[in-house]
Symmetry: C2
Subunit: 449 residues, 2 copies
């Protein structure tokens, strides 16, 4: 970076300097950890900047997480909602993608420790997101898988599909019903979407295909510890979402805490409930990398950043997306959603460009609320844009359109639209294949008699 100091600090023309006119090693090195919504937005905002960029991710693909629950419930194929990071960034010549895992950051030395070596940076953007958390009950993970990665989605798909297979083989009515009881813990968007999809599978997709058990006997129970579903939405929409779910056949219990989970089921307060399939959509914890940056973190492990998203003591390190604890002007936290991560990625990238141009003024990040959407099932969704609220068919169409629009790749948009149209008319879900295996007891077919 030293050689940049000679440029006039008020230049706004530095973009027009051709990157190739400076030797690559002399260009400032921006390292972006994480190829999610935030990391990709930052990389793309730096497309014409006179920097070299390295994007590090431990997975080779960007995941369109808002539709991950559809892979978990067999409605979409995995490749339709994932795109290789290299392919997305192939035309941006100042980006190198590396498949690796960041283990630690030395903010003083400006160095990232990777699983396979180290990497020096001039600017660092940490965008490694969040994973699910079990509130100190890590033993629950084996019984109640969460939904963050593609492999998580395959695990949930496998358990849900195998549960009906177990039920079909089971002669004892109580044990059969245990396989037909599904509990989803957590009434946020993911929990609501999973519950709605499971109810549709049980009521519409599977019934004609089983001979001994009746999938319509399935109970889908959505448990939320707080007073209402979708706490991020207006209370009237929470109530409408609950009514729409109940119409699909989902039982909703709000104000109910899950106190224990094992392979026989859950404890709801003091009341045991037998269920062989429990899905976790409750807790979110920030990526462990957040705690290694030397800055204070909140209870969920999110980093307390300055108003411009940088670290108070290290202005060349930015933390964005689900890993950052940022407040809105109204005092509420910025929600952990894709649009927020993208806005933060663009903000961090703009700050880096400004600094390279000698503009060191702190420019605070301001979250623009583009609205919130959650889908429940066929023709059922809720949507909220400021004071404007929708529920039902209109919200569902908005949800469909927005999700297809934001998907990456023409092929994926086309195939997802086809798959949705197909599922709408036939009630079929085309990705109903069981692959892989996991170690939890209740999914090994051979472990129960």
């Amino acid at each position: 970076m030293a050689d940049l100091g000679t440029r006039p600090s008020d230049s706004i023309q530095s973009d027009s300097i051709q990157p190739d006119s400076i030797p690559p090693d002399a260009k400032p090195h921006v390292v972006i950890l994480g190829g999610g919504f935030g990391g990709l937005a930052a990389a793309s905002q730096l497309a014409n900047a006179n920097v070299r960029i390295t994007v590090i991710d431990r997975r080779n693909h960007h995941l369109f997480q808002p539709l991950l629950y559809q892979v978990a419930t067999a409605g979409l194929s995995a490749p339709s909602i994932a795109a290789p990071l290299r392919q997305i960034l192939r035309k941006q010549r100042n980006v190198t993608v590396l498949l690796d895992e960041a283990l630690d950051v030395d903010c003083t030395q400006r160095r990232v420790k990777l699983a396979n070596g180290t990497l020096d940076y001039d600017f660092l953007i940490v965008a490694t997101g969040a994973t699910h958390a079990y509130f100190g009950h890590d033993d629950w993970a084996a019984y109640a898988p969460g939904l963050k990665t593609m492999d998580d989605a395959f695990t949930i798909r496998r358990r849900v599909l195998l549960a009906f297979e177990h039920a079909e083989r089971e002669d004892d009515p109580a044990r059969r019903q245990a396989w037909l009881n599904f509990v989803i813990v957590g009434g946020g968007a993911t929990g609501v979407e999973l519950a709605g999809a499971l109810a549709e599978i049980a009521r519409h997709t599977l019934p004609r295909e089983f001979r001994r058990c009746d999938p319509r006997q399935a109970n889908v129970l959505l448990v939320e510890a707080g007073p209402r579903l979708l706490p991020g939405f207006d209370p009237t929409l929470s109530a409408k979402a609950q009514r729409q779910l109940e119409r699909l056949g989902v039982q909703v219990r709000t104000g109910t805490a899950v106190t224990a989970i094992d392979d026989s089921g859950v404890m709801l307060g003091e009341q045991p409930l037998t269920a062989r399939t429990v899905l976790w959509a409750a807790g979110v914890a920030a990526s462990p990398l957040g705690r290694l940056l030397g800055a204070p973190v909140d209870r969920a492990g999110r980093v307390q950043v300055s108003a411009d998203l940088s670290l108070p003591e290290h202005p060349d390190v930015f933390v964005i997306g689900d890993l950052a604890n940022v407040m809105q002007d109204n005092g509420k936290p910025v929600p952990g959603v894709a649009p927020a991560a993208k806005q933060m990625g663009r903000h961090a990238a703009s700050r880096i460009r400004a600094r390279l141009n000698g503009d060191n003024r702190p420019q605070p990040f301001r979250y623009r609320d583009d609205g919130a959407l959650a889908t429940i099932g066929r023709m059922a969704a809720v949507a909220q844009f400021g004071r404007v609220k929708f529920a039902g068919v209109v919200a569902w169409w908005i949800w469909l359109t927005a999700h297809v629009y934001f998907l990456i790749g023409f092929r994926n948009r086309l195939v997802v639209m086809l798959d949705w149209a197909w599922a709408y008319w036939t009630y079929q879900r085309h990705a109903r294949i069981v692959t892989g295996s996991d170690d939890a007891k209740n999914t090994h077919l051979s472990n129960d008699a």
Copy 2:
């Protein structure tokens, strides 16, 4: 079955008896082991027969194996070539599908031992197919995965995609080239198809996406121990297939035996070749169930059946598909291909129907050769129908049309056609996502420095 003995043995009207007019337990029970091409054809041929049928498979889906190499090479999504057995058979009310694994058969007691219980049969159709075999070198399996199941395809896809990621990270030229060397062992249809697809990925799909390594430096080597590729085809087509592969950039070595495989590469006779990715397309062994039937088996474990595909000592047990050793009239063995399995399935089912009608005459199975197809790459394939032979573009169009036609499900046909058209114009392969992990050393990113 006893109550069926009173019917006139020459009746050809038994189909018109409504299945529901006889109590279910009194109907003869046909058990079909395996939901592949043979098992499904048998079940469907018994659609209107007065029997109850149980189809057992340890996987929940029928796999369209001829296109499995396209999942392994990231060209197609897994659900596009797989359909849930229940969904395929849902309208056939005399069929029950059970997800289970057959462990043994007692032909005297007419009983199948499953992983979860036992099942009595009146007629048994064993259609459990084949798997890959390493000719006594089972330790090669860890280094050279074969391609039979969907999970095999994911393993190959993961290893191929990660090899280029390793190469991109590797600074040492020799070690980098080791990651860019791919060896495919076996020059049958699967080996040819894998080699052609790998060459296309390296030459056309990936180059613009890597910054440090050049995927075009990849070497794809196809090794065949016999004198020519595609031994099931006419020698002129073998030669054309080899030329088409070479034009795509594949190196072909016939008459070359692989004598050792480990994580550094292969030994070709006495000559070592460094390659971090080795794929196995050479040996096929019949399902282990074949050896448990009490009938003689050949070296590959295939069961020596009577001319009507039943066991010589147990005429109520039929063995079909890749598990059966059957000769054509010309003295050659019936090939292990989907059309042969389907024909055998229909034959076994017809024999069961005839016997139920009192017709016990042995009716020999006759294989009808519908021709053979193998694809090599873009506009390149070979096709043979009796004496009529095609190579190049015409064969490629025949291959495309036939494979789309035989795929199960309108949605899958449409999406596969779309994906092929997309791949043809863009050179992209849309399913380039790495999921899961395996234990072999060379695929763990963190295991090499």
